[in-house]
């Protein structure tokens, strides 16, 4: 009886063991055959990580290789709320809000998330990073990223544009050349142990390809001279907005381009669309008398007038169809040259009537109005001018004096530079070349001739003399520079507001070049609604003088 009980007990234990073993075997077979892929993947996920290697965004240099936009490594702060106790969270709230300049509520909102990873603040300044690192707070970590810096702050803001927190170009050259600047990310496969410490085993990687560098035509010093003079003039004349472009006449290289109001590239989020607009290329306006250069060129090129021809300016009032054209000062008989010196609207309209609207239109097209210049900046617009077949009876008194036509400031400067270049239209550009990290030139730009013989060389010389006359004896005497002859033309155009020409709101312009005998620099200055003074010769010509005089001195001494 006893031995039978033993056998039973033994059998029971044996059965239990066999059953357990059977369960384990079945489970193992199940895991090995049906769950194998899933579990292998899960294990690999815990130990193997694929890390993206961020490429370094290319540097932007001015024409003298001074860095004006570059990336520097900075640290971003993150937290792992799921791994933090309430005490840890409270310590973070108590000690971080002051350092980071964030409210405790904002940090608490992030820490309350049921996540393993949340950003607290990205791209910290070095001092802030060091302060937080010294606190050794639990549950916080840093991740290295690269941040775009603009040491000039507002300098050339409208040319450079800016890149966002993820290093994607959003405006200006940063956007236009984003593909070249951004580079290509790489990746690295790393193994980590159970404590997530990186192991130096089986690390495969493809290195990131850093972005290319841009070398600009912009000169930091000339840019500063232009920005400073423009800001002072805008303040003095209470203008709503202002802009200036300085160009190397021979090559089309833009040495400075500034807009007012401007914005700080390192705090671009604080700025409005108004201050970020690049008026030089993305903005059209009726230029007024500066456009008379086209009429002068057409009249001389078509041999319909000579400089000494005399024109009766109707003592200040002249009726064209239903419109009465006026001059600011009444004039009687003026020579062709004097008509442009004193900027007589009536004189120019009479010249235009003789040469015809078709010729004005043809020369406007030759000077590439209504066509984009092709400058390497985003958002260039092309302006507008009606075909002469659709002109009204009053158009012949409007278009030749710069109304019923819209242009960009850059197009006007292109016209002025073409006259300075004896009739050759050179394409303006802002990037001289693209180089790789080793300094090898990958692609170069510039010096592209868009049109030759826009006007004959002899005609260009004659137009130059007329423009010199404007500065020496006419409306632009404030553009005179001691020791050299300057050529240029003023413009004061009424603004269109609510579909009608306003009384008292003007666009003031001065465009010119110097030295007139061997042109080196051309520039245009525009003010939007300056007051109480509003004449181009009063508000814009002095800015031109200051900028060109200093820029020429600077170029003479530095090359």
């Amino acid at each position: 009886m006893e031995s039978r009980r033993h056998v039973l007990r033994f059998s029971l234990v044996f059965l239990i063991l066999i059953t357990c073993l059977g369960i384990f075997v079945v489970k193992l077979v199940w895991m090995q055959t049906f769950r194998s892929d899933y579990l292998t993947h899960l294990a690999a996920k815990q130990h193997r990580h694929l890390v993206e290697l961020e490429p370094l965004r290319g540097t932007i240099y001015d024409r003298k290789m001074r860095p004006i936009a570059f990336n520097v490594s900075v640290y971003s702060l993150f937290a792992s709320p799921k791994m933090m106790s309430e005490t840890d969270k409270q310590a973070v709230l108590d000690r971080l809000s002051g350092i980071l300049g964030l409210t405790p509520e904002a940090i608490a909102a992030d820490l309350d998330k049921d996540k393993y990873f949340v950003w607290i603040k990205r791209k910290l300044p070095q001092e802030t990073f060091e302060k937080i690192q010294q606190l050794k707070l639990k549950g916080l970590g840093f991740r290295k990223e690269s941040k775009r810096f603009y040491p000039g702050a507002t300098l050339a803001a409208h040319v450079l544009g800016f890149a966002d927190i993820d290093n994607n170009g959003l405006e200006g050259l940063e956007l236009y050349y984003n593909k070249e600047l951004k580079g290509k990310p790489g990746w690295m496969r790393v193994m980590r142990d159970a404590r997530q410490t990186e192991l130096l085993l089986d690390n495969n990687f493809v290195p990131a390809r850093d972005g290319l560098n841009l070398v600009l035509t912009i000169d930091e010093t000339i840019q500063y001279i232009a920005e400073r003079a423009l800001a002072q003039a805008r303040q003095k004349y209470n203008a709503k907005a202002a802009m200036i472009i300085v160009m190397d006449v021979r090559t089309g290289a833009i040495l400075a381009l500034a807009n007012q109001p401007t914005y700080d590239l390192e705090h671009y989020a604080d700025s409005g669309a108004e201050s970020r607009t690049n008026r030089a290329v993305s903005y059209v306006y009726e230029p007024g008398s500066v456009f008379k250069v086209v009429t002068a060129a057409a009249a001389l090129q078509e041999k319909k007038f000579t400089e000494s021809d005399r024109i009766f300016c109707e003592n200040g009032k002249y009726k064209i169809a239903t419109n009465i054209l006026t001059d600011h000062h009444p004039h009687g008989i003026l020579s062709f040259t004097e008509v442009f010196s004193v900027s007589s609207n009536i004189g120019v309209a009479k010249i235009a009537q003789k040469i015809g609207g078709a010729a004005i239109y043809q020369y406007a097209k030759k000077f590439r109005f209504t066509m984009p210049t092709g400058i390497d900046l985003k958002g260039e617009v092309k302006g507008w001018l009606k075909d002469p077949s659709r002109w009204s009876k009053t158009s012949i008194g409007a278009v030749p004096i710069g109304y019923e036509v819209t242009v960009t400031p850059l197009q006007l400067l292109g016209m002025m530079a073409t006259v300075a270049n004896n009739g050759t239209y050179v394409q303006p550009f802002v990037v001289r070349y693209i180089q790789d990290k080793q300094g090898h030139v990958v692609k170069s730009f510039g010096g592209k001739v868009l049109a030759e013989h826009v006007i004959e060389e002899e005609t260009a010389q004659r137009v130059k003399e007329i423009l010199v006359n404007v500065v020496e004896y006419g409306t632009a005497q404030k553009a005179q520079i001691k020791g050299m002859r300057v050529a240029g033309k003023t413009g004061t155009a009424r603004k269109v507001i609510g579909g009608a020409y306003s009384e008292g709101k003007y666009y003031s312009t001065f465009a010119g070049f110097a030295p007139a005998d061997d042109p080196r620099l051309a520039a245009i200055v525009i003010m939007d609604e300056p007051h109480p003074s509003y004449f181009g010769g009063t508000v814009c010509a002095p800015v031109f003088k200051e900028v060109i005089e200093n820029a020429l001195k600077y170029l003479a001494s530095s090359g």
């Binding site: 860095p67 004006i68 570059f70 520097v72 490594s73 900075v74 070095q126 290295k144 810096f149 040491p151 000039g152 702050a153 507002t154 300098l155 990186e198 130096l200 930091e220 010093t221 840019q223 500063y224 001279i225 920005e227 400073r228 200093n550 001195k553 600077y554 003479a556 001494s557």
Partner: protein, 127 residues
């Protein structure tokens, strides 16, 4: 195979394995040391980047302009008449003394002085 021979082979194999493991350990240790050095270099590069930014900001035209060209500043750009071109010679390169360089550059010569046209800057320098 005799026991002595078996032991000899076993000990040899064990020794080789230990040497191999030791070498592997050394390699991994050196790799970790390299990683630490790399981190130190990266840290220095970061600090250098930060310093580079600070320097760039200080020497940017905007910053220098604000400091040097205030409303009442007498500073202005030098024109051609304000610049004296001096060919570098031994005297100048040794101590950088402009006066000395000018005196060696232009030997006093009454006739030459009477007929020469000095620039404004040179004239000011003589005063």
């Amino acid at each position: 195979m005799s026991l002595a021979r078996f032991m000899k082979y076993t000990l040899s194999a064990t020794f080789l394995i230990l040497v191999y493991i030791h070498l592997q350990m050394q390699i991994v240790d050196l790799a970790y040391q390299g990683q630490r050095k790399e981190a130190q270099i990266a840290d220095l590069v970061d600090k250098n980047g930060s310093a580079f930014y600070a320097i760039s900001k200080l020497k940017s035209a905007n910053h220098l302009g604000e400091k040097l060209l205030s409303e009442n500043s007498k500073m202005q750009f030098a024109g051609a008449n304000d610049i004296i071109y001096v060919a570098a010679n031994g005297d100048m390169t040794s101590n950088g003394d402009l006066e000395q360089a000018l005196s060696t550059q232009r030997k006093p010569n009454i006739l030459a002085n009477l007929l020469s046209f000095a620039t404004q800057a040179e004239a000011r320098n003589k005063e």
